[in-house]
């Protein structure tokens, strides 16, 4: 079942990335675009673009029927969902199967079980993987109060269907539980159509570490090491690195083993990521969630392993065995990625769509730029504000950070504000260089100082 032509059901930099992988594999690519993305880089570089609907994602990128119709109508034999949009919707995997299309990702069942946080948490627990001091799905506010009292405050209420920081409410004392539970349940129902909640101890200085896994249809499964994505703002990752140098090696080894075990239990196929939280102060860790898709930050792993994850997704989907065994996976040097967004960090990161009147990328020096932007491109207001991922590789973390700083200094963007200068300030911050940062460091320590205001 070798693939021939792939429908790319996404937009932006990841659509360009998938087109590139298709070209590298000798596959034709068709990009499904909304009306707002007709003149997009993905549309221009793909073998064909097909307009599936209006700018509104609901009637284009989020419409499973239109995506499948576009794949069938253009003679594709496979669908790559990228990340976001439909990437973790089991219904797309099912619709593909129903119409004889290969879904480039795991089975609908694996997406369902891996994507449901409560189910995945229970699975992890059954495998002996630490899941933190938390609960199974909570029946009501009374149970929540009892569990929270047992763990000790602060705790965090999380939506079973949530993810990426959405559907989370911090609770600082027992009196707050009842009201917080009602609000969180209501919000989760609104946002995800699923109000089930669980809760966990709230870690003050947490590091977010995740493990990249690749698995084929023949039982082969490897991990490609871990990434440290602790530099976040409002649960959105700003900077990602590989390897997670600040985490002790024995913990990293345990995380990788746990990730492989969990994916094996899910009968996972393709590229997936298992996220963990590491408690810096206590030196312990616990399972967080499974992401059943390629991650935004996959390039840092590609740069330290030399393995092309998106090409591997394509060959695995085509039925091939994994390109490597675990012993072939060797990490070389250090890689760091920053996400450059069209946002004004001086205006509370307000997204700023508009015309990019000039766009010139830096060259050489261990840099890689993953982007969909070009000079003259008008950023549509309908989607996210990611302009480019700038990734640097170096023999060690310090060299990679220096190279990344040079890359950001020479990324010429005119027409829209960007977060590039802010990111350069982060890269140069002593706390960041010394790896004293954690998932709330940007908001609690860095930004107040950067804004010139006294720290809160």
């Amino acid at each position: 079942m070798t693939l021939r032509q792939v429908l790319v059901a996404n937009r932006g930099e990841i659509a360009v990335r998938v087109v590139r992988a298709c070209a590298d594999e000798g596959l034709r690519s068709v990009v499904a675009v909304s009306e707002a993305d007709r003149v997009s880089r993905a549309a221009l570089v793909a073998d064909r673009a097909v307009c599936i609907g209006p700018a509104s994602a609901t009637d284009s990128y989020l419409d499973i029927g239109r995506v499948v119709a576009a794949a069938l109508g253009t003679g594709c034999d496979a669908v790559h969902p990228g990340y976001g949009f439909l990437a973790e919707r089991p219904e797309l995997a099912e619709a593909c199967a129903e119409h004889g299309l290969v879904f480039i990702g795991p089975s609908a069942d694996a997406i369902r079980r891996g994507g449901d946080k409560a189910v995945a948490r229970e699975l992890a627990e059954s495998l002996g993987i630490p899941v933190g001091e938390g609960s199974a799905t909570l029946a009501d506010a009374v149970q929540a109060r009892a569990v929270a009292d047992g763990i000790g405050y602060p705790v965090v209420l999380k939506a079973a269907a949530g993810g990426g920081g959405r559907g989370m409410v911090r609770v600082d004392s027992g009196e707050q539980v009842s009201e917080a539970f009602a609000r969180a349940t209501h919000e989760a129902r609104q946002a995800f159509g699923d109000g089930r909640m669980y809760l966990e101890r709230f870690i003050t200085r947490a590091r977010h570490v995740e493990v990249q896994v690749l698995a084929d249809r023949h039982g082969g499964i490897v991990h490609l090491g871990e990434r440290d994505c602790s530099t976040q703002r409002r649960y959105q990752k700003l900077i990602e690195e590989a390897p997670a140098r600040a985490v002790p090696e024995d913990i990293r080894r345990d995380l990788c083993a746990a990730a492989v075990e969990l994916c094996r239990a899910l009968d996972y196929v393709g590229a997936g990521t298992v996220e963990f939280v590491v408690d810096v102060d206590r030196g312990i860790w616990s399972f967080l969630e499974v992401n059943t898709r390629v991650q935004v930050e996959h390039p840092v792993t590609e740069m330290v392993t030399g393995i092309d994850i998106v090409r591997a997704q394509l060959t695995i989907a085509g039925g091939d065995k994994l390109p490597v065994q675990q012993s072939d996976v060797v990490l070389r040097g250090h890689a760091v990625e920053v996400r450059v967004n069209a946002e004004d960090p001086r205006q509370d990161f307000a997204p700023a769509p508009g015309l990019v009147s000039r766009w010139v990328e830096p060259v050489g020096g261990g840099l890689r730029i993953d982007t969909h932007v070009f000079g003259g491109y008008r950023i549509p207001p309908h989607y996210d504000s990611l302009l480019a991922k700038v990734i640097a590789h170096g023999p060690d973390r310090e060299a990679a950070l220096d190279r990344l700083d040079r890359g950001l200094a020479h990324l010429v963007v005119e027409g829209v504000p960007t977060t590039a200068e802010l990111l350069r300030a982060v890269l140069g911050a002593p706390d960041f260089r010394a790896e004293h940062h954690h998932t709330r460091w940007i908001e609690q320590e860095f930004l107040p100082e950067w804004r010139g205001a006294p720290a809160a």
Binding site: A32, V33, S34, E35, A36, R38, V39, A43, L44, V45, A46, D47, R48, A49, V50, C51, I52, G53, P54, D59, S60, D63, I64, G65, R66, V68, A69, A70, L72, G73, T74, A95, H99, L355, G376, Y377, R378, P380
Partner: protein, 180 residues
């Protein structure tokens, strides 16, 4: 004072050298409007003629408006002038060529069907007069049959897509003449 032919020529040249998609200039009753549609989808071997990259409309004429409104905008898509909002199964309307033709475009990607079922008569044929609420075709999205309504009254001049072919969102399905 009004625009001289030389002014118009230099404006057109400047516009063509620019990356703008649209430019309108009204000076003392003289109005100049330039617009250019975006590049058509790359590599698309769409059956219908893609929008031209050359200026689509150049109108110079006397306008009733006295105020000198000058504006420029640059769009990314090859969209027609704003159409009235329409429900999902109603076609988007676009003003057509100078001869007053109207177009019915696809509301979605999908398969184009001229009849309610195989072997049945066409919803409409060339020469037929249609009203806004008349169904003119089906665009099928994964077994979901979207009945496309004309959205406007007119006489069918041509059918732009073969029965059963895939159409893209916004692709022209029918060209109509204004009902006289």
């Amino acid at each position: 004072m009004s625009l001289t032919p030389e002014d118009v020529q230099s404006l057109i040249a400047a516009f063509e050298a620019s990356e703008w998609d649209e430019m309108t200039l009204s000076v003392d009753g003289t109005q100049l409007a330039l617009s250019r549609s975006g590049r058509p989808p790359a590599g698309a071997a769409a059956p219908a003629a893609p929008p031209s990259t050359a200026p689509e409309t150049v109108v110079v004429g006397q306008s009733g408006a006295a105020a000198g409104a000058i504006g420029g905008s640059r769009g990314t898509g090859g969209a027609a002038p704003p159409a009235p909002p329409s429900p999902d199964t109603t076609a988007t309307l676009g003003d057509g060529t100078a001869e007053g033709a109207l177009r019915i475009t696809a509301p979605s990607v999908g398969l184009f069907w001229r009849s309610p079922q195989p072997g049945a008569p066409h919803f409409v044929d060339v020469g037929q007069t249609v009203g806004p609420d008349d169904t003119v075709c089906i665009v099928e999205v994964m077994k979901l049959m979207n009945h496309v309504q004309a959205g406007i009254a007119g006489v069918v001049r041509s059918v732009e897509v073969e029965n059963g072919a895939m159409v893209e969102h916004g692709q022209v399905l029918f060209v109509l003449d204004r009902a006289s």
